[in-house]
């Protein structure tokens, strides 16, 4: 059994609301893993912590206190390393009754240390693409020069001419028309879809081991979205690249991912193969997943003329995290038998089927996994 390419273990990333003197528990003990060649989808609403988890893995969290605990193991090129190695020297967490009451962090020191750890990793082993591609590109530089910069940094091509050639090759691969002309274009004149293609090219031209795509289709027009999704699917087949795909759009996740993790309120509430988790007729699933699926229009739902069901309540405020299950306030499948448990204790992740875990008191686990 191969070790996973990336294994995130009990990651905690907190922010701080000065006005309220309280922590924002964006990522509160998240464990994920993605195997080589696989695409892991992470689904959740805004505020669920999915983007922050990805940014933490890439070492891009700059607000305080930031990453305060956990392990992120990257297994690539025969080397295994913990990207959060040494964090305990820079962050001291004081807990009381399981709640974090104080954090002391040497932010500058940690950032310097982290930058050193991530030096050969960012861009080369782990590449990232973002939402809003037009603002993610440097408006003052041509897209060609931005591509060439990545190529010269992370591949063996150091010469200007060779790098340009490789850049043009990649522009073609992401289906940009007249790459020769586009090379000298600036981002402001290009459409969102085109900019996202450039971002993809920029991420992949260094041939990284892992691609993290943070909401790559959000913000684009619907028709363009499907094109980008198709492009990603094609590139996945062509290159076999391992991907972590983050989105709140279930259809995108369904199309592209092999396994999926559902996040809510800063924790993973369900994880398993997408065919199992997202299948409409699945019985064993987290109530949140069920609610998400019910609120998304699908071809079948349209055919049956069934109503979309909205999820009651509001997204969890990760400042005021309640004791007990985080979804309790909005759950529509609570039974009297488990009500006290749901309200009082947070359920652990339990396996309901091989490779399929759910965090819910409806499925008391035969054995509890620690992932």
């Amino acid at each position: 059994m191969h070790a996973p390419l990336l294994a995130i273990d009990k990651l905690r990333t907190y922010f701080y609301a000065r006005a309220k003197r309280a922590f924002i528990r964006s990522v509160d003990g998240v464990s994920l893993s993605v195997a080589r060649g696989e695409t892991l989808g992470i689904v959740g609403e805004s505020g669920s912590g999915k983007s922050v988890a990805a940014l933490s893995a890439a070492g891009l969290v700059s607000a305080g206190p930031g990453v305060i605990g956990g392990r992120i193991d990257l297994h690539s090129n025969g080397v295994q390393r913990n990207l959060l190695d040494g964090l305990e020297n820079y962050a001291r967490v004081t807990e009381q009754d399981g709640r974090v009451m104080a954090v002391e962090k040497d932010e500058r020191g940690w950032r310097r240390h982290s930058d050193r750890l991530m030096a050969g990793v960012r861009g080369k082993e782990i590449a990232m693409i973002f939402q809003n591609p037009r603002s993610a590109l440097n408006p003052y530089a041509t897209i060609g020069s931005q591509l060439v910069e990545t190529i010269r940094l992370h591949t063996r091509l150091k010469g200007g001419a060779e790098a340009k050639e490789r850049a043009l090759h990649w522009l073609e691969r992401v289906r940009i028309d007249s790459p020769g002309l586009r090379f000298d274009n600036f981002p402001f004149g290009m459409s969102g879809g085109m900019c996202q293609r450039v971002m993809i090219a920029m991420a992949l031209c260094a041939e990284p081991a892992l691609l993290i795509a943070d909401e790559p289709t959000t913000g684009l027009d619907a028709t363009i979205q499907s094109r980008i999704v198709e492009l990603l699917a094609q590139l996945k087949t062509e290159t076999g690249i391992t991907t972590i795909l983050i989105s709140h759009d279930i259809s995108v996740i369904q199309r592209l991912s092999d396994r999926v993790s559902i996040m809510y309120g800063g924790t993973v509430v369900e994880t398993g193969r997408s065919s199992e988790v997202l299948a409409p007729e699945a019985k064993l699933r987290h109530p949140y997943t069920a609610a998400l699926l019910a609120s998304t229009p699908s071809a079948e739902a349209i055919r049956n003329k069934s109503y979309l069901q909205a999820i009651e309540g509001e997204v969890l405020d990760t400042i005021n995290v309640p004791p007990g299950c985080r979804f309790y306030g909005r759950c529509n499948r609570v039974t009297d038998a488990i009500r006290d448990q749901c309200a009082g204790h947070e359920p652990p992740l339990g396996e309901v089927a091989p490779g399929h875990q759910v965090r819910c008191w409806l499925y008391p686990a035969a054995h509890e996994s620690t992932a």
């Binding site: 890439a58 891009l60 500058r108 991530m118 030096a119 990793v121 960012r122 861009g123 080369k124 590449a127 990232m128 973002f130 809003n132 603002s135 993610a136 590109l137 440097n138 408006p139 003052y140 530089a141 041509t142 020069s145 910069e149 990545t150 940094l153 992370h154 002309l181 000298d184 274009n185 600036f186 402001f188 004149g189 459409s191 971002m199 920029m202 991420a203 260094a206």
Partner: protein, 323 residues
């Protein structure tokens, strides 16, 4: 990283040039209005030669070709100004513009030298604060900058003179006119130091540069640069450094010109500032008018240059790309 396409840039520049020209026209109107409304009829002096008050009959003025209407006078006056004829100094009788050019150079040294010095102090503090947030170090530096910005520059000048010239005897005590000696240029440094440190623009420079750089560093495209392992500074340079620095330089130019008037007084520096002071003392209209016009022109020039830099760096300014 290339410059944006050249042709559209020149079109934008023509527009900027036009705006500058119209502003300079406005400047001339303001100066003319002040002269026109002033008691003692200074315009008479300028337009009709060095003749005293208009009591000497309207007829005589007309005989000398001074128009009667205000727009006539404006036109004549503007015509002379554009030809470089600013009249003659009442005090010395010398033509104003050549004299200004002669001493203006000294003021230019002073201005640019002190601008450079202020930047040299402001930039490290601003960059450090933007990159690392508020540390005790840069908070103290900022407070010191605030204090320095409120220090009366003339008093600061005396302190510097006392410390460096009287006590430490580090610099020779010669004025700028006797510039034949080899070490004369050292003496330039003292007033530059004074104006550079105490011009009153230091605190705001730090604040502006820090704000802009912080804003850029938090922008999406910098995050992308970090994510791909690229050197952040190279990406942040244009918008976070070059543009704000040129902006603040051109914005603070008027203040430095004002500060130069005072510093030249302290050091008896033979520049435009001291000439302005002298002219104001003597009610020497042609000179002070000339200085006002030249100073305003200089400010507008600085502004124009800043717009040039902005346009050259900013691809959106050209707007001539395919869809």
């Amino acid at each position: 990283m290339k410059l944006a396409a050249i042709k559209p840039v020149s079109r934008v520049l023509l527009r900027e040039l036009g705006i500058s020209a119209s502003l300079l026209l406005g400047v001339s109107v303001v100066v003319f209005a002040i002269l026109y409304l002033a008691p003692g009829d200074p315009l008479n002096v300028l337009l009709g030669g060095q003749l005293p008050r208009s009591e000497l009959a309207l007829g005589m003025r007309e005989a000398l070709g001074v128009p009667r209407t205000w727009y006539g006078q404006y036109a004549t006056w503007l015509g002379k100004v554009l030809q470089g004829n600013f009249g003659n100094s009442i005090r010395t009788g010398l033509p104003v513009l050549p004299e200004l050019a002669r001493v203006g150079v000294n003021t230019l040294y002073l201005i640019f030298g002190s601008l450079l010095l202020t930047l040299l102090i402001a930039v490290p503090i601003a960059v450090h604060a933007a990159a690392h947030g508020s540390t005790p170090g840069n908070t103290v530096a900022t407070i010191v900058a605030y204090i320095l910005s409120a220090v009366p520059v003339f008093w600061f000048g005396y302190i510097v003179v006392y410390v460096f010239i009287n006590q430490l005897k580090m610099f020779p005590l010669i004025s700028g006119t006797a510039t034949k000696q080899a070490h004369a240029w050292l003496y330039f440094l003292v007033p530059i130091f004074v104006l550079g440190v105490a011009s009153g623009t230091l605190a705001e420079m730090i604040r502006h540069l820090r704000e802009e750089l912080s804003r850029v560093l938090a922008d999406d495209y910098i995050r992308t640069a970090r994510a791909k392992g690229a050197a952040v500074w190279r990406h942040a340079f244009k918008e976070g450094f070059l543009i704000p620095v040129t902006e603040i330089m051109s914005a603070k130019m008027p203040f430095l010109l004002g500060g130069a008037v005072i510093v030249e007084q302290v050091f008896n520096w033979p520049g435009m500032g001291r000439m302005a002071w002298q002219a104001a003392q003597d009610r020497d209209f042609p000179v002070i008018m000339g200085i006002a016009l030249v100073a305003a022109a200089f400010v507008r020039l600085g502004n124009l240059l800043q717009r040039v830099v902005f346009t050259a760096v900013n691809p959106r300014a050209s707007k001539e790309q395919g869809p």
